[in-house]
Amino acid sequence: MDFIINAILKLGKVDRRWIFLVIAIVVLIPLLYPLALPIRPTATSQQVYDAVETLPKGSKVLLSCEYSPSTKPEIHPMVVSFLRHCFKNKHKIYITCLWPDGQFMAEEALAEVAEKEFDLIYGEDYVLLGFRPGNEAVVKGIVSDLRKLYTIDSRGTKVTEIPMMEGINRFEDFDFLFSASAGYPGTIEWVQYAVDPTDVPMSTGTTSIQVNEVMPYVQAGQVQGILAGMPGAAEYENLIDHPGIGTSGMDAQSVAHLVIVLFIILGNLGYFIERNKEKKNRGY
């Protein structure tokens, strides 16, 4: 027993760099040798999938990309899967970006899905309107008069010359919104300035760190489902039956979480043992 207690106490004093190394190893091994752990969609991911499924064919879907390379591992798989799902259901995709890097992320996703996989035509099946600075003011601008804000798309083509932009003047002309968000401005701004005032349905995919912040809007019915971080992306990939980077990362995610939980338990045990020892030494 004393041996275990001493080992726990020693672990509590270990240099944090060893912990970093252990985490690196437990993340790396499942990536090299996948365990194929099962992925089951949660209710909120299923809600996103159902929301897209219930849209009639040829619906006008606005996809807003608010993420950058730093959050690409979490959000990009969602965007790729969402595009796949929408193009499979013959929906028209309009992309706006509230983050400057979002434009390049969207270009990458479109090249992979719209051009390579579905061989779709730019301007007829999808359009990348691009980035506009101004945060929530941009959302307000899209709600009131999209054409005032976007006179040209990301390629410099006049919006009036893009066939699929016909009849699109404001936010209410879209049938659905999906916000791929990694922070501010993002999902919350879309809810506050676009969705709540107009009642256009919306779903979202966010980074894990944002989930707690966005969840109240999902619970209140203001947002139809949420893809919560990498697990959300993996679940969506599973739902559309097209495994990708999200799915392959989930083994590593699960193992890493187990190890972190173990560290937390050991850390707490060490704390309590030390506290008891101190109490005994003081004669309490």
């Binding site: 690196a24 090299l32 591992p73 980035f131 101004g134 919350i188 019915g221």
Partner: protein, 274 residues
């Protein structure tokens, strides 16, 4: 040279340079950090200029639709065209806008904000900041009131005696979940009521509120860990890809080099200490 391979080597170097901070602060990490700050600032400025200032501001002040070779306004434009032809192309800016002189106001406010660089003119920046703060406050007041206060309040008005609902359900609506929601909302709000001392029955109720808040913080921590691990997975996936022979084993070589440099510096530091 194949730029894809070159890019992969740069990417690997920068990733491992940032990771090297986990060992300790070092010059390789500093290089990556400074490079990131500089590139980000330059990238953002360029994007802002070419997506907003040039098409939406200059494009509304000198649209090609209204271009005339005789007027004073476009005479000024022609001078700008000589100075910076890529920003002010010949014959006006063709971005589908009409002429709006009212856009001279944001132009002036923008210039005034830039004047904060000069000590004697930095008071002028306050005007632009005042406009931005006022506009943002006005916009947000409405958004928060509508979506965060009213809509969230509505969502807490739930039936607690609805016979159609099951007594218990883990995820869906149930009497139990509605009851938890009601208790959590009320006790959480009472915890932030500071006009009465948190003692007696009131203290106990507000303590329940703390427990609800702690559960929420725990969930936030869990999600934060999940997010960080996801980002680590993203970098590792790239490092694994770039360790293949098609990239000349970039990850392995850069890792070896970095370990050698950091190892050498650790040894020399130890010697100096002795």
């Amino acid at each position: 040279m194949n730029f894809e391979i070159f890019g992969a080597w740069i990417s690997v170097f920068l990733t491992l340079a940032i990771f090297s901070f986990l060992y300790k602060d070092n010059p390789i990490y500093k290089i990556a950090e400074h490079l990131f700050v500089g590139v980000s600032a330059g990238y953002w400025m360029t994007i802002f200029f070419w997506t907003q200032i040039q098409p939406n501001l200059f494009g509304r002040l000198w649209p090609s639709k209204e271009y005339s070779e005789t007027g004073i306004w476009y005479g000024l434009y022609d001078v700008l065209n000589i100075v910076a032809g890529s920003i002010f192309p010949e014959g006006g800016i063709d971005k589908g806008h009409d002429l709006h002189f009212s856009y001279l106001i944001p132009l002036a406010l923008g210039i005034m904000m830039l004047l904060s660089l000069f000590k004697s003119f930095n008071w002028m920046a306050r005007w632009g900041i005042a406009y931005t703060v006022g506009m943002a406050a006005g916009l947000r007041a409405y958004g928060y009131l509508n979506s965060n206060v009213i809509a969230q309040l509505k969502a807490t008005i739930i039936p607690i005696a609805n016979t159609d609902l099951p007594i218990f359900s883990l995820l869906g609506e149930s009497h139990f979940n509605n009851f938890i929601l009601l208790i959590g909302t009320l006790t959480g709000l009472l915890y932030f009521y500071f006009s009465k001392e948190h003692s007696g029955v009131f203290g106990k109720v507000s303590k329940i509120g703390i427990y609800f808040l702690m559960i929420s913080f725990g969930a936030s921590f869990g999600f934060a860990v999940m997010g960080r691990i996801s980002l680590l997975i993203g970098r590792f996936v790239e490092l694994i890809t770039f360790s293949s022979s098609s990239y000349h084993h970039a990850s392995l070589w850069v890792l070896l080099l970095m370990v050698a440099i950091l190892g050498y510096s650790a040894v020399t530091e130890k010697r100096t200490e002795i």
